[in-house]
């Protein structure tokens, strides 16, 4: 029982090594897929059945590696937050794996790195040792660099290289922060650091600020905070679809939860207010780029950043309601964003085209995909009765006291509606577009989508609908068992004013879409689309972000 956290990490690691071993023996590739599937299912069973009891008892499951107790050794902590993130991460990974079975003929290397990625992900959230967290972050990132470049197309390789360089700079900053913390309190275990490394314990405030800023910026690159997110759209767009899903739906969230955990243990409450601003800007700015994209997966990738903004801003407000909203939106976003990426992948699989302008009239050819994409689009735009509506309502209610950030969030929601209207237009018939732009696309050449790609789509859309219709269970579960806080007042999500607000956003969004589809709007989008930051500028922006962070901390 106690050693379950360890097994969560090593099962997939073991399976990965097994895959590598058996592939020297020229076995059929079905065995590789079987091993990876069964290892993920075992992990899911371990999380779901054996450790769910810690939630109910509100305990922390602690496993000391090598039996060395905490200040000296490394220990794995499984609390509510870790349980939650480990569970949704594994569920998404299972869907991604099922999806990948028939999508392409992936070699065993794909499954090997997939499992390594999973293992690193579990490690990051379970470990209670900050250096160990760094190591797991590196395992996770090295696997993801390789998987992004898997297709070996020139853009994918370039995206992977950019990500490698930016993220390595971030990890160096993180390591520097760890060094400062170790110098300050002589320990690496998070609980011990929480006790010894704060301003109350006599650590000089400037040192404290510097260390935290370095750590937050270092991990924030992976969690796609706004000036640090320029690697993300390319990397997520040009990766193979199952990997895009895993990166967008799980990896950036895991990184954010790591920040959550560090801030919680260090009691850096001042920093939380800063996240409100970062979050609202993160929600707004990428939407402008997303509106102008023509690549179907790149549009979704920009929206991943933007939705992270909602989560971060809500985390920044810091009340029990807003933290619940943040976690709930995190969960919902990982479901509907994976749904959207899967359906985008299915469209690309069937037609071989990823340019929105060249696709049209797909509803007749693939009605299933059209319907599930509609579910995903309605969820992400926050239309009742889908899950996005519930969590966005929680977020907007909790941000009421902060007018400017909530205005940014409002604008971001409008932009989201507009760009998803644009995305959904590919399923409708557009006579004007069809004749001019279709190029090499012809409706007869559509490939049939295998069933293993349809199952994840359908089950994810059912999850999106169910968690939208019955929100109170999940809200209560998150606030009582994971955050260990009671929501102060009974919340009514489906009130007329909330529904009215979301319909207003819908109307404004469609209006914005009509604007960007005019000639003038298209010129503006072209100008924005060309204004993408290169590698050098992104690296420079990381440093600039760090400086802003440190200065802002000083003011607060």
């Amino acid at each position: 029982m106690n050693s379950i956290p360890l097994f969560l990490i090593i099962i997939s690691l073991f399976a990965a090594c097994l895959i590598l071993l058996i592939n020297f023996l020229k076995v059929p590739s079905i065995l590789t897929k079987l091993i990876s599937l069964s290892s993920i299912i075992i992990i899911l069973i371990l999380i779901g059945f054996f450790t769910a009891s810690i939630l109910i008892k509100k305990q922390i499951l602690i496993y000391n590696l090598g039996a060395w107790k905490e200040p000296l050794g490394i220990s794995l902590h499984m609390d509510g937050l870790a349980w939650f993130s480990s569970l949704f991460g594994t569920i998404i990974a299972l869907f991604a794996l099922i999806y990948s079975l028939k999508e392409k003929n992936y070699s065993f290397k794909f499954y090997f790195f997939f499992l390594i990625l999973l293992s690193g992900m579990q490690g990051v959230i379970l470990t209670n040792d900050i250096f160990n967290m760094f190591v797991f972050f590196e395992i996770l990132s090295i696997a993801s660099y390789i998987l992004i470049a898997y297709s070996r197309e020139n853009k994918a390789i370039k995206a992977s290289f950019d990500y490698l360089l930016i993220s390595s700079l971030g990890m160096s900053l993180f390591l520097l922060g760890i060094g400062l913390i170790y110098q300050g309190c002589g320990s690496l275990s998070l609980t011990e650091i929480g006790k010894n490394f704060n301003i109350k314990a006599g650590i000089s405030p400037s040192m404290f600020r510097l260390a935290i800023s370095l750590i937050i910026v270092g991990i924030g690159i992976k969690a796609a905070f706004v000036p640090l997110h320029f690697w993300l759209p390319n990397a997520h767009a040009y990766a193979p679809t199952p990997i895009s899903v895993l990166l967008s739906a799980v990896m950036i969230k895991i990184s954010f939860l790591a920040i959550w955990r560090i801030i919680n243990t260090l009691e850096a409450i001042n920093f939380q207010y800063f996240f409100l601003w970062i979050g609202s800007l993160t929600a707004l700015i990428p939407v402008i780029w997303a509106l102008s994209q023509t690549d179907i997966k790149k549009l979704l990738a920009y929206h991943s950043v933007s939705q992270m903004g909602f989560i971060i801003a809500s985390f920044g407000a810091g009340s029990a309601l807003s933290l619940t909203g943040s976690l709930y939106h995190l969960l919902n976003h990982s479901f509907f964003k994976s749904l959207l990426f899967f359906s985008a992948g299915a469209v690309i699989y069937a037609t071989g085209i990823r340019d929105l302008r060249k696709l049209s009239g797909l509803y007749k050819k693939m009605p299933y995909v059209a319907i599930v994409s509609l579910v995903g689009a309605l969820s992400i735009t926050g239309i009742p009765p889908f899950n996005g509506f519930v969590s966005k309502t929680l977020i907007t209610t909790s941000l009421k006291e902060y007018p400017l950030p909530s205005f940014f969030i409002f604008l971001a929601s409008v932009g989201t509606v507009a760009s998803f209207t644009k995305l959904m237009m590919i399923f409708l018939n557009r006579e004007k577009v069809t004749q001019k732009n279709l190029g090499n696309f012809s409706p007869d050449k559509i490939r049939k989508i295998p069933k293993t790609m349809i199952y994840p789509l359908i089950s994810l859309s059912i999850i999106c609908l169910l968690s939208g219709i019955f929100p109170s269970w999940i809200i209560k579960g998150i606030s009582n068992f994971i955050l260990l806080k009671d929501l102060a007042y009974p919340l009514k999500v489906y009130s007329p004013s909330n529904i009215g607000k979301s319909l207003t956003i819908l109307g404004l969004g469609i209006f914005l879409y009509l604007f960007i589809s005019t000639k003038r709007g298209k010129q503006i989008s072209l100008a924005i689309r060309k204004r993408e930051f290169g590698l050098n500028n992104s690296l420079l922006l990381v440093l600039a972000g760090l400086l802003v962070f440190i200065i802002f901390m000083k003011i607060l």
């Binding site: 590196e138 390789i157 290289f161 520097l176 050098n536 420079l540």
Partner: protein
């Protein structure tokens, strides 16, 4: 003093990463920054006049061995990253026929 020098080395590395156009030089910059961090950790553990932490009779004043152990891990990770980055550079060279970042970005821009 040593801390400032380490910091200077770190800045040199980052400067290399940001300003150099050649991809391999960028990776070198990353390596320099990493080495600066390794030095920083070693400095944290170091104390003037103390010896290696091998516990024999009569030894009282030892350096903190933990940063050194951590840095072994960090160095190994750094080597992995460098190897991977250089492999990617090789692939980029094959695809784009250049190692200059601004030219590569011109070639890979969306239409």
């Amino acid at each position: 003093m040593e801390f400032y020098l380490t910091f200077l080395l770190f800045l040199i590395g980052i400067w290399g990463m940001i300003t150099k156009e050649n991809l391999i030089k960028k990776i070198m910059g990353l390596n320099i920054a990493d080495s600066a961090i390794v030095l920083f950790f070693i400095l944290i553990g170091h104390r003037q006049g103390s010896t290696a932490p091998i516990m024999e009779k009569g030894i009282k004043d030892v350096v903190d061995p933990l940063p050194q152990a951590l840095m072994l891990t960090a160095i190994v990770i750094g080597i992995c990253l460098t190897a991977l980055a250089l492999t990617l550079v090789l692939k980029i060279d094959k695809e784009y026929r250049t190692l200059n970042i601004s030219e590569i970005e011109k070639l890979s821009r969306d239409e």
